[in-house]
């Protein structure tokens, strides 16, 4: 049985004091023991950005990779060792900007991984430029006269891309985050958890205060997560910001289509071909 402290890393997070990402780190450390997961059973894959430093701050197997490429790497890893729990993490620039192509395809592909986006609506590590989720007209270093582009709604994008688990949580609400992470990891298929993770240094709009005042846990008041149209409605509300599990669909994950090949994780397979198999391969060309 693992405990929360087993997931402590010897490396201290280099995030700014008050950064929303701390909430997610705490929630991971609490959710893994609840799921009876040991540190060696988890692979945490990240891209590049402040939030993508997370694998260094948690004691699991980890990969800190390229900007926007966490998902392809996490999916390749999962198919090669599907017995491990694979969690991909990153920021909004990473997942909804440079990596948005991979994001869309990962959702329709439905490989059994959990993707947690620490969405702060700003580029933090590069010191404050507009992000794909920055509000219209938001002033940043790269848009001093206001952001002229509409922000992406990651939830409707996910719902429209065949994502089988769509959730959103504010990282200040750790108990809710733990519950959603638990359900996301348990979900068989691709699970998106978009988290509001405020940047206390470069974003003066999407602050802790803003989210505390505006979010509402829709799982507390009868939202039906199997109803995709209800999920679309909640994802686009303007009177409050919906959090919780918006949508969950039970459908077979990608690995099911490779059931025979993946009966045993492929990294443990015998390698090469037998003499008999070789003869057969050759015969095809004679």
């Amino acid at each position: 049985m693992s405990e929360s402290k087993d997931f402590n890393s010897s490396v201290h997070p280099d995030w700014c004091p008050g950064c929303g990402d701390f909430g997610l780190l705490t929630a991971f450390k609490k959710a893994f023991p609840i799921l009876n997961l040991e540190p060696h059973q988890i692979m945490t894959v990240s891209g590049i950005g402040c939030s993508s430093n997370l694998p260094g701050f948690i004691n699991t197997y980890g990969m800190h990779t390229l900007h926007g490429r966490a998902l392809p790497i996490a999916q390749g890893f999962k198919l090669a060792n599907h017995k491990m729990t694979v969690v991909a993490v990153g920021g909004d620039g990473d997942g909804y900007g440079i990596g948005v192509g991979h994001f869309v395809h990962a959702m329709r592909r439905n490989i059994d991984i959990t993707y947690v986006v620490m969405n702060n609506s700003i580029y933090g590590l590069t010191t404050g430029q507009t992000s794909p989720t920055s509000a219209l007209k938001m002033k940043t270093k790269s848009t001093p006269f206001g952001n002229p582009e509409l922000p992406i709604n990651p939830l409707t994008l996910a719902l429209g891309s065949g994502c089988s688990f769509v959730a959103r949580v504010y990282t200040g609400h750790v108990p809710q985050l733990i519950e959603v992470l638990k359900r996301a990891i348990q979900h068989q298929g691709f699970a998106l958890v978009d988290t509001f993770s405020p940047c206390v240094t470069f974003n003066k709009l999407n602050t802790h205060e803003f989210y505390k005042q505006n979010v509402k846990d829709i799982n507390q008041n009868g939202h039906d997560p199997s109803d995709i149209m209800a999920a679309f409605r909640e994802a686009t509300r303007t009177d409050y910001i919906a959090t919780g599990i918006l949508y969950q669909q039970e459908r077979s994950c990608y690995e099911e289509s490779e059931r025979e090949t993946l009966a045993e994780p492929i990294y443990r397979h015998r390698l090469g071909v037998s003499a008999e198999e070789a003869e057969k391969l050759v015969a095809e060309f004679i």
Binding site: G56, P72, G76, F77, T261, A278, V282
Partner: protein, 586 residues
């Protein structure tokens, strides 16, 4: 004494969709099953219908080294083909054409060529027979005039259409037989003795050889995005995914493909991808990541013609410079197999080297090697034993360092999932444990030292590979020849053929050929280069990229070059002609 002619060049031409490939396959398989040697080259365009395509097969009792230049037996299937091909028929050659489709009198075009109009419509009474099957009939006629056993053709048609209904098989056999009978009555046998040795050989492409080579040497994971002329590897492996329990994944783009492969390699499986230059350009970022994370990945780059999207269906050796792309210095190995057998073994070697050095191994192929059909000698499936390099099976209590500094620069790998050995592989610069030194520690005196040590460790792999694994170029022919033709990769056979022609013309020549391109075993290479009297580099590119690499790595300068970059591959005859021009300028 006149030598008995023991090889013949056959060309089959028509519109895309006329069944050029299937007649080529039937004819090629008849030859290969008889134990003849075949080298076939397909000239086609990037169009599914309507392009003009032709397949040229050089068939011989002995190994044929190129697809040859002027064809001696030509099959024409559509109306535009006479104008394109009749002028290039060798004097004394024969032309078979479908006279139900090509109605003009071709004999006016050349008087030194024999024309046989085969009246497909008149000969056919069978229900279901369509003009599209003229290719089968004309193939039967060619088999007959070359004195090959038609029964082999009938047998192959049965094998080829095994999944179709019996009527379809019978109809195709009937049409083939009509072609055989027509030629028996109407055409003169050719003055050629094609004598096979009875050893049925595989008739395949380089992409098949790469695919089979990867499979035979432990590949478990293949991800790719379709791009000509590399897609054959994906197609081949996809048919083997279920039977051999490998994961074959078409991804959303090449960036995803290489990163899927990196993820799989990190888990401990042998993983590879193939692409062409444009896709490789997208993969460069991932290759750098694999260099930094020290992941064993194999990438086959099948070069096409010209820059950017270029000419997808043509040949060039223009991507050698690209193999050195990526930010910063990191270890990589570049191999360029010389022919199909070499492609099979190189695939195995690449998987081994990738795991031995935990770094990307790049294989350079090209359209010619990857897509032409050829008979190949049987592969030795146990010639390249699977060697997985340093994989650590346990950690004894103590802490595990993924990037432990070692003598040879290679740190033992623990495959993720082992209790007590958790580590992070980071693309940012890191210490031996994988902890990043790029952020708060960057520039601190202790970090400078770590940075030096860890970077030196990774680069050390190049020195070890250079000494232990990289093969010297081969020198064939007399060591003291007056002239040396230097090449690399797929041009091996064509240069050999050129050497034969040169020797027949009284030139003293040998052939220096590179397959292991980087890291070059510099001292050995220099010794060989210095032993050559006059070197001419032969490359299918504009800027002699191998000459440049040799100069960069060894300081040795090769002054004279033969370059071809129109998209067609070299033949011996072509190199021979081009050399006359180079030598005339001496």
């Amino acid at each position: 004494m006149t030598q008995v002619k023991d090889n013949i060049i056959v060309r089959i031409a028509g519109a895309a969709g006329d069944g050029i490939a299937s007649s080529g396959e039937i004819f090629g398989k008849v030859c290969s099953r008889l134990g003849l040697h075949v080298m076939a080259y397909n000239s086609y365009q990037s169009a599914i219908r309507g392009g003009h395509v032709w397949l040229q097969l050089n068939v011989g009792s002995r190994k044929t080294l190129s697809h040859g230049e002027a064809p001696e037996v030509v099959v024409l299937l559509n109306k535009t083909s006479p104008l394109v091909h009749v002028p290039s028929v060798k004097k004394g050659g024969v032309v078979f054409y479908n006279s139900s489709n090509i109605t003009e009198d071709l004999s006016k075009m050349r008087d030194d060529v024999t024309f046989y109009g085969v009246p497909f419509r008149e000969l056919i009474t069978e229900k279901g027979a369509d003009m599209i099957m003229a290719n089968i009939m004309l193939t039967g006629a060619v088999v007959q005039i070359l004195g090959l056993n038609p029964q082999i053709g009938l047998d192959f048609i049965r094998d080829r259409f095994a999944k179709k209904q019996e009527e379809v098989i019978k109809l195709n056999q009937k049409i083939f037989q009509i072609g055989v009978d027509w030629a028996k009555q109407n055409a003169k046998s050719l003055d050629v003795v094609l004598k096979g040795d009875g050893k049925g050989r595989m008739f395949m492409t380089g992409n098949h050889a790469f695919g089979m080579g990867l499979l035979a040497h432990g590949l478990k994971f293949y991800a790719a995005y379709p791009m000509s002329p590399s897609t054959g590897v994906l197609h081949y492996l996809a048919t083997k995914a279920k039977s051999h329990k490998i994961v074959v994944k078409q991804t959303e783009d090449e960036i995803a493909a290489v990163n899927f492969v990196i993820g799989a390699a990190h888990a401990g499986v042998r993983a590879a991808t193939a692409t062409s230059g444009g896709g490789f350009s997208l993969m460069v970022e991932g290759i750098g990541l694999a260099g930094m994370l020290e992941e064993p990945i194999v990438i086959i780059n099948v070069q096409r013609g010209a820059p950017s999207t270029g000419i997808p269906t043509k040949q060039e050796q223009g991507d050698l410079n690209l193999m050195f792309g990526g930010s910063g210095d990191f270890a990589r190995i570049v191999l360029a197999p010389k022919d199909m057998e070499d492609a099979f073994y190189t695939a195995g070697r690449a998987l081994n080297l990738a795991e031995k050095y935990q770094t990307p191994v790049l294989i350079l192929s090209d359209l010619f090697l990857s897509e032409h059909f050829q008979t190949v000698e049987p592969f030795q499936f146990d010639a390249v034993p699977i060697e997985r390099g340093k994989i650590q099976e346990s950690v004894n209590g103590g802490s595990y360092k993924r990037y432990l500094i070692t003598e040879d620069g290679v740190s033992p790998r623990v495959l993720p999932g082992m209790p007590g050995a958790m580590y992070v592989s980071a693309s940012d610069e890191h210490d031996e444990s994988g902890v990043v030194i790029s952020d708060v520690l960057a520039g601190l005196p202790s970090s400078l030292d770590i940075r030096n040590k860890i970077h030196t460790k990774r680069m050390k792999k190049l020195e070890v590979a250079r000494a232990e694994d990289m093969r010297l170029p081969t020198l064939t022919g007399p060591a003291n020849a007056e002239l040396t033709l230097m090449g690399w990769g797929s041009t091996y056979d064509a240069i050999e053929e050129a050497c034969q022609l040169l020797r027949e013309a009284g030139v003293s020549v040998n052939h220096l050929h590179f397959t292991d391109l980087y890291p070059l075993p510099v001292e050995g290479v220099l010794e060989i280069l210095n032993s050559c009297r006059e070197i001419i580099a032969v490359e299918t590119n504009f800027s002699s990229q191998m000459v440049r690499l040799i100069r960069a790595e060894t300081g040795f300068s090769i002054k004279r070059t033969v370059n071809r970059y129109d998209g067609e591959p070299f033949t011996g005859e072509d190199i021979f002609k081009r050399l006359q021009e180079v030598l005339a300028h001496v």
